[in-house]
């Protein structure tokens, strides 16, 4: 059971790069690292996923060091619409006994 730890909240100005780090010291060999974004009154939305090294897509980058005990979600040039709660999830839903646990999430506030 890979418990995750994230900062409770972060503030940023529009246009800046935001990096949110998640600690997961007990990550298992088969576990993936996945980040979700949640707006009020909506379900979480998948942002990005990785297993090791670096992954980049059109909205974010995910950096994973060699030991995989942490990961960093990088949001380039945030806008007001990026204000949301960001969750780090570690696990593997293909496992028969895996228990996927969302952390408390990081509340990102973007202002002008």
């Amino acid at each position: 059971l890979a418990k995750t730890t994230q900062p409770i909240s972060m503030d940023s100005y529009e246009g800046q790069e935001v990096n949110i780090t998640c600690s997961h010291n007990n990550i298992a060999t088969n576990d993936y690292i996945t980040w979700y974004q949640q707006f009020p009154s909506q379900g979480p939305r998948f942002i990005i996923q990785g297993y090791k090294t670096k992954v980049t897509n059109e909205v974010a980058s995910l950096f994973i060091p060699a030991d995989r005990k942490s990961s960093t979600l990088s949001l380039p040039r945030v806008s007001l619409s990026d204000t949301a709660v960001y969750y780090c999830l570690v696990g593997d839903m293909t496992g028969t006994a895996s228990k996927l646990t969302f952390g408390t999430g990081t509340r990102l506030q973007v202002t002008l």
Binding site: S41, Q42, G43, F46, Y87, M93, T94, S98, T101, F102
Partner: protein, 114 residues
């Protein structure tokens, strides 16, 4: 645009009543999850199914909650009898095994038990 659908979107009921929430996963997804979200506890995994078989329901109060997948297009979460502490938003999500933790969430059912 494939989406997970949930019904009802909102439900207000009185303590002791039975509540049934329904979820239609994305066609082709073989894994379905039920989560509960509250301000105090955050997102909690209640149960999940793969290929319609329950794999883990350890997060669910067994005495009053039950989850089933009568077919590949329908997942249900039932609470009987409901209690005020069950008030929360219940999310269903679906995904495909082999794609890590990529889950697609529905809009949720907001349950209020008076």
């Amino acid at each position: 645009d494939a989406r997970v659908t949930q019904t009802p979107r909102d439900k207000v009921t009185e303590m002791g009543q039975e509540v049934t929430m329904r979820c239609q996963p994305i066609l082709g997804h073989n894994t379905v999850f039920w989560y509960r979200q509250t301000m105090m506890q955050g997102l909690e995994l209640l149960a999940y199914f793969r290929n319609r078989a329950p794999l883990d329901d350890s997060g669910m109060p067994k005495d009053r909650f039950s989850a089933e997948m009568p077919d590949a297009t329908l997942a249900t979460l039932k609470i009987q009898p409901s209690e005020p502490r069950d008030s929360a938003v219940y999310f269903c999500a679906s995904g495909s095994s082999g794609r890590g933790n990529e889950q697609f969430f529905g809009p949720g059912t907001r349950l209020t038990v008076l």
